[in-house]
């Protein structure tokens, strides 16, 4: 069948099971948009406020559902607006296909209007990218892009399509269904046997897991192994929601704002089993002193992560679900009563720090905001932006379901949340609850427009402290209280902002007003902003200073 390149793109998207495209039209994608319009009953297009929002939405769609997110943008500024969103997905291993238009082949390299070498620009932040210069190659290239995005360690792939390739005719042969992912690599048997032997000799084992457990769908296997090993668990930011927060073996998040109990357990352990995690500096602190008394066994799907940041005595490349399943066959039940008692006492000590009390009148403690909204938010997808509110949410929110926590971990992208919340809603139909700050929300609040037009019932809790709180915290602790450029002398009224966009909102500065706002927010049909007054003096504690170690942890206000 002879069809246009643009039509081939839409047919391949359908064939790959894509039901939603996030995007923004422009001069070099009008043919693609025309082809999409003709298939509008099969693929819905979500018009965002800008392309960055579209990329975050495709990312949120993928994180919440596990399916590949698709984003479409025009050449030049459209394409460059995607970059932060693509990089966000890349650092957190989120499957995404970004399609961009470009100027016609003969115009490339002449600095034509809205021409940018987006393949060059995105090379460092994609798993792979393509520019397609012949329409005949278009269908298979796009299929390959989907295959790469969802195979092994997942990630974003960009396909750049010059305008003349969209209009040229090509042969199209329909395929039955989505391209299969590449066969998963599995850990080798000798390595697993060696791992089982090490695990059975451990006296104080500790499990450190990351986002690989979520993308590898290995939550059940993980908790089964923790039980078998009689070991406590801690996770990276990306691992949150893989096991229920109240799981008796779960000590919480590790790292810069992780739980002190998890840090102490890691420090005292004689063996660390690291699963689907990459030892980011934010999770380990000083990488030379991380788990300094322990032998480390590292299992990950990406061979390049092994021995990269932390030397492991044993590293295994392979799918984590498969590796855990086979480890369970090899490892007899372990018992570590003394270690378990030690863990229980670490846990009790930590619990004493967790009582919320706001630091000035007329403000809410961040934990109070989280605890209150959480009572209304059963079954919700929790989304954050980046900063103090993100860490408070990560520390405090009681997650129960895998993929119920969406946050920009690796790149730390302020402005990620609202777009991601829109994507999560469209993928799952679960109400998103966005915890954000006045800094982050200010970056991309234009996506309120999208949330209103798509009737996304997102509850947005803005922890408004009038500062860029996380940087301010560093300034307070490490820069002698010199608050350079972190005080927001703004007069933005987020409730009126919400109303101006056609959404609703309420202010909250007390438990009563917060409860009233939550009542209204969780019965709203569309987006609802709760403007929560928070003291600028609240800190995220505990804090492991950058490059520090367990003995440097700050647990008290200075």
């Amino acid at each position: 069948m002879l069809i246009s390149g643009a039509e081939a793109v839409v047919r391949v998207l359908l064939e790959q099971g894509c039901d939603t495209v996030f995007g923004y039209p422009g001069g070099q994608v009008t043919d693609l948009y025309d082809a999409l319009y003709r298939k509008r009953r099969c693929i819905r297009h979500i018009l965002t406020a800008d392309e960055q929002g579209a990329a975050h939405a495709a990312d949120g769609y993928a994180r919440a559902s596990g399916r590949t997110g698709v984003v479409l943008a025009t050449s030049g500024p459209g394409a460059t607006n995607l970059v932060t969103g693509i990089a966000t997905a890349y650092l957190d291993s989120v499957p995404m296909v970004a399609v961009t238009g470009n100027v016609s082949c003969r115009q490339i390299g002449r600095d034509s209007f809205q021409e940018v070498d987006i393949v060059g620009v995105t090379m460092p932040v994609t798993k792979h990218n393509f520019i397609v210069k012949h329409a005949e190659e278009l269908p298979d290239t796009l299929r390959t892009a989907f295959r790469i995005a969802k195979s092994g360690r997942k990630g974003p792939v960009l396909v750049d399509i010059p305008r003349d390739v969209q209009t040229a005719r090509c042969h199209f042969e329909a395929q039955d269904g989505p391209v299969p992912a590449e066969p998963v690599r599995t850990a080798d048997a000798d390595g697993l046997a060696a791992a089982a032997a090490l695990l059975s000799q451990a006296v104080r084992p500790f499990i450190y897991f990351g986002g690989g457990i979520l993308s590898g769908d290995a939550s059940a296997e993980l908790t089964a192994l923790a039980d078998r090993l009689d070991a406590p668990m801690g996770c990276s930011l990306m691992g949150l929601s893989a096991v229920p927060s109240d799981h008796p073996r779960f000590l919480g998040m590790m790292g810069m704002h992780g739980s002190a109990a998890a840090a102490a357990a890691e420090d005292e352990a004689d063996l660390v089993l690291a699963l689907g995690v990459r030892f980011s500096d934010r999770a380990t602190g000083d990488q030379h002193r991380f788990a300094r008394h322990a032998q480390i066994i590292h299992i990950d799907i990406d061979n390049a992560e092994l021995q990269k940041n932390i030397p492991a005595v044993l590293d295994l490349c392979g799918d984590v679900k498969d590796a855990l399943t086979r480890l369970l066959d090899l490892l007899p039940q372990q018992h570590h009563p003394a270690w378990s008692r030690r863990i229980a006492s670490l846990r009790r000590r930590e619990a004493q720090h967790a009582v919320p009390q706001s630091r000035s009148a007329g403000t809410l403690h961040p934990y109070t905001v989280i605890d209150t909204l959480q009572r209304y938010a059963a079954g919700a997808v929790i989304v954050t932006d980046v900063g103090q509110h993100q860490m408070w949410t990560a520390q405090r929110y009681p997650f129960t379901e895998p993929r119920s926590f969406l946050t920009s971990g690796g790149l730390g992208t302020m402005g990620f949340g609202l777009g991601a919340a829109v994507g999560a809603w469209l993928a799952t139909g679960k109400r998103p609850v966005l915890f954000t700050g006045d800094g982050s929300f200010g970056m991309n609040l234009n996506e309120l427009a999208t949330a209103v037009s798509e009737r996304v019932p997102v509850v947005i809790a803005v922890m408004r402290n009038g500062t860029l709180g996380m940087v301010r915290q560093w300034q307070r602790l490490f820069f002698g209280g010199r608050y350079a450029a972190t005080t927001l002398s703004r007069q933005t009224d987020f409730v009126r902002v919400a109303e101006a966009f056609g959404a609703h909102g309420m202010h909250a500065d007390s438990l009563e007003s917060l409860n009233a706002a939550a009542e209204a927010a969780f019965s709203a049909k569309g987006p609802f902003v709760i403007d929560c007054a928070v003291s600028p003096d609240e800190l995220v504690l505990p804090m492991l200073p950058p490059g520090g170690s367990v003995e440097n942890i700050i647990t008290e206000y200075p």
Binding site: M123, H128, A194, A304, Q307, L314
Partner: protein
């Protein structure tokens, strides 16, 4: 699986052969990985292979075992990279080619000619004012020859960087 007992880091020259799909942009992907991750390249050569679908890149760099291992794993991850191999010194034939232009001057012409002869270099261009010599050999030989040419007023030179093939019948395979 890799059970790694940390050896003392020894900094040395590594030469790796990388077989890549012959696609535009592949050289930037490979060299970009080095820049991005802070690895240094001593020399890089690229050219066609016996099969039109593939190019072969030979990269020389200094580093320890740890750095070499990270480089290999990162290269292996690139979609267009088909095969990566460390070319171990005693199992590898390595060559470089040098073109060097020196001033043609009666005063030292005789010394120049003997150096050319001893190194089995070739004169590939000769004019009244300048001479171009060609030399192939291992890096150490090229270095020694350049040293010898220094007194003769080097006008310009260029060297290709290392190319390398494994001795015996083993090859970098074109099918993974």
């Amino acid at each position: 699986m890799n059970t790694l007992k940390k050896p003392e880091p020894v900094n040395r020259l590594y030469v790796i052969g990388v077989l890549v799909a012959n696609i535009s942009g592949v050289l930037s992907r490979v060299s970009g990985m080095f820049t991005r991750r802070g690895f240094n390249i001593d020399s890089l050569t690229v050219g066609e292979t016996e099969s039109s679908g593939f190019s072969r890149i030979t990269i020389a760099f200094h580093g320890d075992e740890d750095i070499k291992e990270r480089i290999i794993r990162q290269l292996d991850k690139l979609h267009d990279v088909r095969e990566v191999e460390v070319m171990e010194q005693n199992e590898t034939v390595t060559r470089e080619l040098l073109l060097i232009k020196v001033r043609n001057c009666a005063e030292y012409r005789q010394d120049l000619m003997s150096a050319v002869e001893i190194f089995r270099s070739k004169i590939v261009d000769y004019s009244a004012s300048a001479v171009i010599c060609e030399l192939t050999g291992e890096t150490s030989k090229i270095d020694a020859f350049i040293d010898l040419m220094k007194p003769f007023d080097i006008l310009e030179m260029c060297r290709t960087g290392i190319v390398a093939l494994e001795r015996g019948e083993n090859c970098l395979k074109t099918v993974r």
